[in-house]
């Protein structure tokens, strides 16, 4: 019988999870598993609710990306109502979804990952935080704070509040954008765009310091999936669903609503997170990745000038490494603010025709959009009274489940060579997970000390090494 190393909880991610690293009888890493240790029953307790309540209910899934669920759920309800929403409503939904992506990416890069990237993977864990970043590079910390704050502010100005806004509704949005709010947002965008550009420049100069991490942070061939625009451009709200390999060969390009024809899910005994896979290649060979790395891998352009410049840098990198999620995230922040500016300058953005009204006209609806972490899918069925009888969500983090497990196994095999553990090694294994930025349960809160305690236990149950922080 082998040994197991446990990292519990994994720090600086959204939600609570643990990693176990299983050693064989020779002390070599056999596999590593990412466990999501919390259960969420939203699909089940949505049953019996009127369909029009779903967007607000589903937004409560998460405190970091409620807007993403709001958008996907409202799109599913649009389909249940069989309506085409007014053009201005679609643009406003796009803006709030882009603001969500920008603020979430800023949180991930600056608050959660920049401590590793600036201070080093082996730096003192007590200082490996946003406070440590502020001490070492105040401008970087200020940049993160400003970018996240602007994303949050845009959400608040449009949706009425930063967390769990109810503004996106079945049929459109609940109220029009005022000229005052539009002008306020427009006045702040140039600074944000400049900050995003500067950060991309800074980070692009850091990348080569991480050549070892790049080579073993979930660096393997595989598939990528995301929504894609009609001209192959980056798309975050609508579009077709595309699946391609790491060489860019397109395997699927389908209507997003048909995703169940190509994606199936497997249940794993070690985690409450299901593992979606590409049906045609089976489980687990059909592993694929979603999120900023996949979106930029699949897109031939962003559609905004400054992000397109940055995209050319991204295209020169090896997309098989999850380490490059970081750069992809920064480019998407730049894209988001540029695109918000373009949309706000549209002639009809203040139009007051922003909502289509209808009762339920179909029994089944799908809503698919791009959340910060990847493609988000909502699927509902209702009865003749408009009550939910079936709800199924495939969340962005779930799509990446197989790749995260394979990624931490790869990193653990590379870094763990004997029975001795070090904080730097364990932090690197956590950092693989952080590149994917999984969002497991932002709406739940742990009570008590969130310590990290890793134990190496031999076959007899004796603790032979331990790292705690």
């Amino acid at each position: 019988m082998g040994k197991i190393i446990t990292i519990d909880p994994v720090t600086r991610i959204e939600g609570h999870s643990k990693i176990t690293i299983h050693l064989d009888d020779n002390g070599e890493v056999e596999e590593a598993l990412f466990h999501v240790t919390q259960l969420r029953g939203f699909e089940k307790f949505a049953e019996g609710r009127p369909f029009h309540e779903m967007p607000s209910l589903m937004a409560r899934i998460c405190g970091i990306c409620p807007v993403s669920h709001l958008v996907a759920s409202s799109k599913a309800c649009d389909m249940l109502m069989s309506v085409r929403i007014p053009p201005t409503a679609e643009k406003l939904r796009r803006i709030i979804n882009l603001a969500q992506i920008a603020q979430s990416h800023a949180l991930s890069f600056f608050y959660l990952s920049s401590p590793d990237l600036l201070l080093g993977m082996d730096s003192d864990p007590a200082k490996r935080s946003i406070v440590g970043v502020a001490r070492e590079n105040p401008q970087l910390a200020r940049s993160g704070i400003q970018l996240r704050a602007l994303g949050q502010e845009i959400i608040e100005l449009l949706g009425g509040k930063k967390i769990h806004p109810g503004w996106v509704v079945p049929g459109g949005v609940s109220h029009a954008l005022s000229a005052e709010h539009r002008d306020h947002i427009l006045s702040k965008l140039p600074d944000a765009i400049s900050i995003a550009q500067s950060t991309i420049t800074w980070f692009s100069q850091q990348i080569e310091k991480f050549s070892e991490e790049i080579s073993v942070f979930a660096n393997f061939p595989g598939l990528f999936m995301s929504l894609i625009g009609s001209k192959g451009e980056l798309e975050t709200y609508d579009g077709r669903l595309r699946l391609a390999d790491d060489q860019g060969q397109i395997l699927e390009d389908i209507k997003a609503e048909d995703y169940k024809s190509i994606v199936a899910e497997e249940i794993n005994p070690h985690s409450y997170l299901k593992s979606p896979y590409y049906k045609a290649q089976g489980y687990p060979a059909g592993m694929y990745r979603v999120g900023p790395l996949a979106r930029l891998h699949l897109a031939n352009s962003c559609g905004t000038p400054k992000a397109d410049q940055a995209l050319s840098l991204f295209k020169s990198l090896d997309h098989r490494s999850a380490f490059h999620y970081h750069l992809a995230r920064l480019i998407e922040i730049l894209y988001a603010f540029e695109m918000i500016e373009l949309l706000l300058r549209g002639d009809d953005i203040l139009d007051t025709h922003i909502r289509a009204y209808a009762a339920a006209n179909a029994h089944e609806g799908f809503g698919i959009s791009e959340a910060p972490r990847g493609t988000l899918m909502h699927h509902y069925k209702i009865d003749d009274n408009g009550l939910i009888i079936y709800a199924d969500l495939v969340i962005a983090t779930g799509h990446n489940s197989l790749a995260m497990n394979k990624g931490i196994t790869q990193a653990a095999k590379h870094y763990i060579k004997n029975d001795k553990l070090s904080d730097g090694i364990l932090n690197r294994i956590e950092a693989v997970i952080r590149t994917f930025d999984p969002c497991l349960s932002c709406s739940t809160h742990a009570v008590g000390q969130m310590a990290l305690d890793i134990q190496l236990i031999d076959a007899s149950g004796a603790v032979i090494d331990r790292v705690a922080r």
Partner: protein
């Protein structure tokens, strides 16, 4: 410049919602304060790093929170600026149970003040009003003892803001 009152906690976790309740009551009471005292109120589930933008531009900050370590029903007002730098650094770098730096996007008041100082080289005077509580289970209601303290602490906060504002005004008049 306005004073900033930040009540924080989870209003779905029983007494942890104390800070939120206090913030809401302060917002009501603030309508009757003298016009020369401006109070901005924030009611938040957690303290996030981006709140330093609000803090840096405030004349002073008062936080309100429930405490799991104070005896039940005891109200404590702590002058956060009076804490020595070393204590502050140790607190914000090592305390994770109250949202220390290691969780990175969930701060405590000291972390925020320290971040503000580090990024902008100054931070306003700040106090923390904490009340000892015991019921942090799933509930939208405060326990009766903690609920009874909401108006008392809200009034104390208004009083504190008015006194500190007056002191600040008189000291700046003397300087002129």
């Amino acid at each position: 410049m306005a004073w900033l009152v930040v009540g924080f906690g989870c209003d779905l976790a029983g007494d942890d919602g104390f800070g939120i309740s206090v913030a809401k009551m302060v917002a009501e009471l603030a309508k009757d304060t003298p016009k020369q005292v401006s109070i901005e109120v924030m009611a938040k589930r957690i303290l996030a790093p981006e709140f330093v933008e609000n803090i840096r531009s405030a004349e002073g900050v008062i936080f309100a929170d429930a405490s799991a370590t104070l005896p039940l029903g005891i109200v404590q007002c702590t002058d956060l600026q009076a804490l020595r730098q070393a204590e502050l650094e140790q607190e914000c770098c090592t305390t994770t149970s109250t949202g220390g730096a290691q969780m990175s996007h969930q701060c405590n008041p000291l972390t925020l003040l320290h971040l503000c100082n580090t990024l902008y080289l100054s931070s306003p005077p700040a106090w923390l009003y904490a009340v000892g509580a015991s019921n942090f289970g799933l509930s939208e209601n405060l326990s009766s003892m903690v609920a009874a303290l909401v108006p008392k602490v809200a009034a104390q906060i208004i009083d504190k803001v008015e006194r500190e504002s007056a002191r600040s005004s008189s000291s700046s008049s003397l300087k002129h």
